[in-house]
């Protein structure tokens, strides 16, 4: 069957199935299992209302358990086992304790990936938030601010792979003496007179070249959120500062920033999570060569190139471990808010 047709059938079956499930299960509950009539009418209505939330929740909970909760547990298990192919062709998973972790930590590539990830974790959220804050503050003060905002926000819609192509053109290098078609080398050669650089192959600095791509994408996100927060600041506080003779910089740093600190933290943590999962940019631009490896790509290498599920799972657990503080913090805040 043609995939497009298959897609259409899936949409119809998926949507029809969902609606049908919700509709039929509610009818069954109300009319047959606990009908609101007869001697137990009152009790039945109560029981139906106890069951109903779970009818509504069931498909979502099922999908969440299978697609997110179960993998977490399974990955922990896999990271502690080794896949062995027996002589009769079957595969078994032998418990090996922390051997996978030990093996991973003995690899230079792992430490390179972890080191790079740490650098990403500092640079990308910091720069994105700073640029986002700057853009938010500046665009809020001018007439064509909303147009400027949507142009800065635009990279959000571009895929990491598309962004990789866009920035590869920026970093492109032609042999010395010929005309440079990458803007960065064109400027570099023009100003310094040196030979053009293959930016993506210069260790240490090339990681920054990759980070710039993510900063370019995430700044728009930071700007949108922070701009809303800036507008939510009560006018009186700013007016009082003006009356007291504060200059615009003092107003910004001493009055506005402290009031939106909570939002800055949210933006920072959200971008941090994106950074921890960053894969496509590195995969498409350098594939971890020239010392640009990051954890997500390291893990992909282990899983699908080296076919080493044990170490791959261990690497995934390291990413999970790094996310956990944010996870706990988010849950803590969500619970506090509900009370």
């Amino acid at each position: 069957m043609h995939p497009a047709l298959l897609g259409l059938v899936t949409i119809i079956m998926g949507v029809g199935g969902c609606v049908g499930y919700f509709w039929l299960s509610n009818i069954a509950l109300d009319n047959f299992i606990y009908p609101p009539r007869g001697p137990n009418a009152g009790r039945n209505i109560n029981r139906a209302n106890i069951v109903r939330p779970w009818l509504f929740l069931f498909p979502a909970l099922f999908a969440l358990s299978v697609y997110l909760a179960y993998p977490v547990v399974e990955t922990i298990r896999l990271s502690l086992t080794e896949r062995v192919t027996q002589s009769d062709g079957s595969t078994t998973y032998d418990f090996v304790g922390f051997a996978n972790y030990a093996q991973m930590m003995a690899e230079d590539k792992f430490w390179e990936a972890l080191g790079n990830n740490m650098m990403w974790l500092i640079v990308v959220p910091a720069l994105s938030t700073a640029f986002g804050l700057l853009a938010a503050q500046l665009t809020d003060r001018i007439g064509w601010g909303s147009i400027a905002k949507s142009l800065i926000f635009m990279p959000m819609a571009i895929s990491f792979v598309g962004a990789a192509v866009i920035w590869k053109l920026v970093y492109d290098a032609r042999p010395p003496g010929t005309e440079q078609i990458g803007i960065l080398n064109a400027i570099y050669v023009w100003f310094s007179g040196n030979e053009p650089q293959q930016w993506l192959t210069v260790p240490f600095w090339n990681s920054f070249m990759l980070m710039i791509v993510l900063v370019w994408i995430q700044t728009g996100f930071a700007m949108v959120i922070l701009s809303a927060a800036l507008r939510g600041i009560p006018e009186e506080t700013v007016e009082a500062a003006i009356v007291d003779g504060a200059n615009p910089f003092q107003i910004f740093f001493k009055i506005k920033i402290p009031q939106i600190m909570g939002t800055i933290v949210v933006v920072w943590t959200t971008i941090t999570i994106v950074v921890l999962k960053v894969f496509d940019i590195v995969f498409a631009m350098t594939n971890g060569q020239w010392e640009t490896q990051v954890l997500a790509n390291y893990m992909y290498d282990k899983l699908f190139r080296a076919n080493d599920w044990g170490v791959g799972s261990a690497a995934a657990m390291v990413i999970m471990l790094l996310v956990t503080p944010i996870l706990v913090w988010n849950v803590y805040n969500a619970r506090k808010e509900m009370k």
């Binding site: 697609y67 792979v161 990789a164 053109l169 927060a229 496509d280």
Partner: protein, 382 residues
């Protein structure tokens, strides 16, 4: 605030200029790719895209018409014609008839040809060759010109990538594959999440707070953890690699955000409406479909955009759950990564393919930006 006495900003100009600089910086890379996708391979390789906007000076090697087109006028053998193709609007400054002296003559000058006869070249590229004897040989003479050519753009790359290109260049199949992945993967999670969000927002049951915390926790679980266990599961229960697998995976991965966004929105709906409906005897199912769903349209739209952008732009999930060894089900992101490897220098193909892939999300983005912003605000700021 700007109007308050004494703060009428002397910074206004600085602000305008900074924003212009910032926007230019953010737009520049994308514009570079867009412009490049409309240039020929030669143009891209020989000059930076930023120069393509202005007339450029180029050295060209052109050829006059072959001797067989000569005519006899007033006892002279004459070949006349234009050096440039029809419709090209270039201006010749200097020219020559030997590759070692390409700037010997000015436009309008007449040169002696080595094999006899003369040639006159005008600034607009028209030429006239004259000779007392007939011109001989099968090919015309070479003329080396330095010409100022106006900016020139072409649709040829798009034609190549969308219609005529061979299997590695042509994006049509990957485009439709991407669409096939995206649409069900956007619609189905919305539906499932909407029901769950309603239950979490407006139904009372034990464990509700715990469930919400569970969903908030799942919101940040890295996708990477799910790859092996789910691939094993899919292979184990016979789904294998394919569309069904990728739809299910995207549904699962999209659900936490969907439920979270929709629940936050539904909680904010006025309580009166729902309680009145309950008093009037509406069932929960009716309340949901007739009241909650229509009222939640902005939140549904927000999530739909997120999920659409995310599934359209995704590479990892498709790599793991969809694309098998045959490559029949390849998506655009994967094909572009492959092009980066095999055709790293062919910017005309790369730029055009990338833009084909980027154009749809950009359209969605500009058309529905309002909902996207609203969704972002609801999803991260509380």
């Amino acid at each position: 605030m700007d109007n308050i006495a004494g703060t009428k900003s002397s910074l206004t100009w600085a602000v305008h200029l900074s924003v212009v600089a910032l926007v230019a910086l953010w737009l520049f890379p994308t514009v570079g790719l867009l412009v490049s996708s409309f240039r020929t391979a030669d143009q891209i390789a020989t000059s930076g895209w930023w120069k393509s906007m202005f007339p450029s000076e180029q050295n060209l090697t052109l050829r006059t018409d072959a001797p067989e087109t000569q005519a006899q006028i007033d006892g002279l053998y004459v070949i006349e014609g234009k050096l440039f193709e029809e419709g090209k609007d270039a201006t010749i400054s200097v020219w020559g008839i030997s590759s070692r002296a390409i700037a010997d003559f000015n436009a309008g000058d007449t040169a002696e040809l080595r094999k006899g006869g003369t040639v006159t070249v005008q600034a607009d590229g028209s030429y006239r060759m004259e000779n007392a004897e007939p011109f001989e040989g099968s090919r015309g003479s070479r003329i080396f010109v330095t010409a100022e050519t106006p900016p020139e753009f072409t649709w040829a790359n798009y034609k190549n990538v969308l219609i005529t290109g061979d299997a590695t260049d042509n994006m049509t199949k990957a485009f439709f594959n991407t669409l096939t992945v995206t649409i069900p993967a956007t619609i189905i999670p919305i539906l499932i999440a909407a029901f769950a969000a309603y239950a979490l927002a407006w139904m009372d049951f034990p464990g509700r707070a715990l469930l919400i915390a569970f969903i908030v926790a799942l919101l940040v679980v890295p996708l990477q953890l799910a790859l092996i266990p789910l691939l094993r599961l899919h292979l184990g229960i016979g789904i294998g690699k394919g569309y069904l697998g990728v739809w299910l995976a995207h549904t699962g991965f999209g659900l936490p955000l969907a439920i979270y966004l929709l629940r936050n929105y539904m909680v904010g709906l006025p309580r009166d409406i729902i309680e009145n409906a309950r008093v009037d005897g509406a069932t929960e199912f009716q309340i949901f479909t007739k009241i909650i769903l229509p009222l939640s349209f902005p939140a549904l739209a927000s999530f739909a955009i997120f999920q659409f952008l995310w599934t359209w732009n995704d590479l990892l999930v498709s790599l793991v759950f969809l694309i098998d060894a045959t490559g029949e089900t390849t998506v655009m992101t994967k094909q572009i990564v492959e092009l980066l490897g095999t055709r790293g220098g062919n910017w005309e193909i790369l730029a055009t393919s990338a833009f084909v892939s980027i154009s749809v999300p950009l359209l969605v983005f500009f058309a529905m930006q309002k909902y996207l912003v609203r969704g972002l605000l609801a999803g991260s700021v509380k």
